[in-house]
């Protein structure tokens, strides 16, 4: 079992880690770095609760090996607020629309939504639905999440 030394930038901070080959990025974030905001919902790339941004693009962190994150930039939910803990427009929109219930899908949902607004600042409703299809939510029924993303887009900033 090979151990790998990697350098990965997580939420703007450079981390030097030694991890085994078979550790997923999800488990690295949760178990090595204590970044438990990223959730383990299925470990099969189906629920999206573990979605994080790697070099700005969303991936299921359960479907990526930690060793693959070497020399890359990872952003988790913990890295989305500003230094004072201030909410982004997107987070504010989720709060204002009550687009959160149990909250377990929320970190992954925010990662997917933020990446969508970064690549497409004014998505249509259909584009939002398409972009979030890999993020399951059992509580909200999705419409408030979609409206929150629309509202954040209208305010012009993710």
């Amino acid at each position: 079992m090979t151990a790998h030394s990697i350098t990965v930038t997580v939420n703007g901070k450079r981390e030097y880690l030694t991890i085994p080959s078979h550790m997923t990025l999800l488990r690295m974030l949760r178990e090595k770095l204590g970044l438990t905001g990223t959730k383990n919902g299925c470990e099969a790339g189906e629920c999206g609760a573990c979605t994080v941004l790697v070099d700005g693009e969303p991936v299921n962190s359960c479907m990526m090996l930690a060793v693959e994150a070497d020399n890359r930039e990872v952003t988790t939910i913990e890295g989305m607020t500003d230094d004072e803990g201030g909410l982004t427009r997107l987070q504010q929109a989720f709060a204002e629309h009550n687009a959160v219930q149990c909250g377990f899908c929320t970190p992954g949902m925010l990662a997917s939504a933020r990446a969508l607004l970064d690549r497409n600042p004014h998505p249509s409703e259909g584009e939002i639905r398409e972009a979030l299809v890999g993020n399951l939510c059992r509580c909200t029924g999705y419409l408030r999440i979609i409206k929150a993303v629309q509202a954040a887009a209208e305010k012009g900033e993710a």
Binding site: S21, A44, G45, E57, M63, L65, E68
Partner: protein, 299 residues
Amino acid sequence: MLARPGLPSFDYIRASTAQEVVRLLKEHGEGARLMMGGTDLLVRMRQGDVRPKIVVDVKHLPGMSEILYEEGAGLTIGAAATMNQVAKHPAVRAHYPLLAEAANSVASYQVRNRATVGGNLCNASPCADTTPAILALEGRLVLYGPNGERELPAKEFFLGPGQTALQPGEFLTAMRFPQLPSGSAGKYLKLGRSKAGDLSLVGVAIFGFPDETTSSGYRFRIVLGSVAPVVLRALEAEQVLASQPPGDETFALAAQRAMEAATPIDDVRGSAVYQKAMVRTLTLRGLRDVWEQLAGRKE
């Protein structure tokens, strides 16, 4: 029977040359698995279907993730290009929209950031969404092995579910597509259990172009996914379209022939009867769509 938590242990090797990959494959045989996006391999490892000793990451080989288009020469897609790379690439969208459409229909956006077209092909799953498009566009596969590089028509690659023409020590490095006939059009239609994000219960790729050598003046290629042990060309349906004037009646007959070519089995995702019927529905819809594009282009 149930998938395990996390992955079983293995050694990860990031390969930097094709020769190194060949050597590792020869050395470890079945004990080695190649990985690009990992979206299929990691799932199968959790399920215990495969348990490699070493996992060789080949996506960083030179050119593996590149997409190159040259007017006249056609398109080359590195095996490790992700679905999103393919779906978003301007040249693919402009000249091979069928391929972009198929790549974009796979799973979810975040999965498409990892899943690769090459991986999709090498799994040789009958429900791989990009395979029908690649067969419809008569793609060729570039394989690298102990004897160097060889090229194979994609249709000769699939031998059965999970079985490919890859020789021991050989792996896929790229897909090549010829310049497409002018005035051509394509459509990929997929039926899942939800409108997006699911595997395909039925996938139908249709590609058509004007062809003076046929009596109808057009040639169509129809490729069916998920309804046979391998992805399937519906040749009899294509024959109907080559010989009879385009129009609803011909399309209906072709759709019927496509349905007859399908040999799905009953499984938890759907019955054979339903999947066959859906081949007809999707083929008919696809033909109408492609015809609309072709007719529009002609004017």
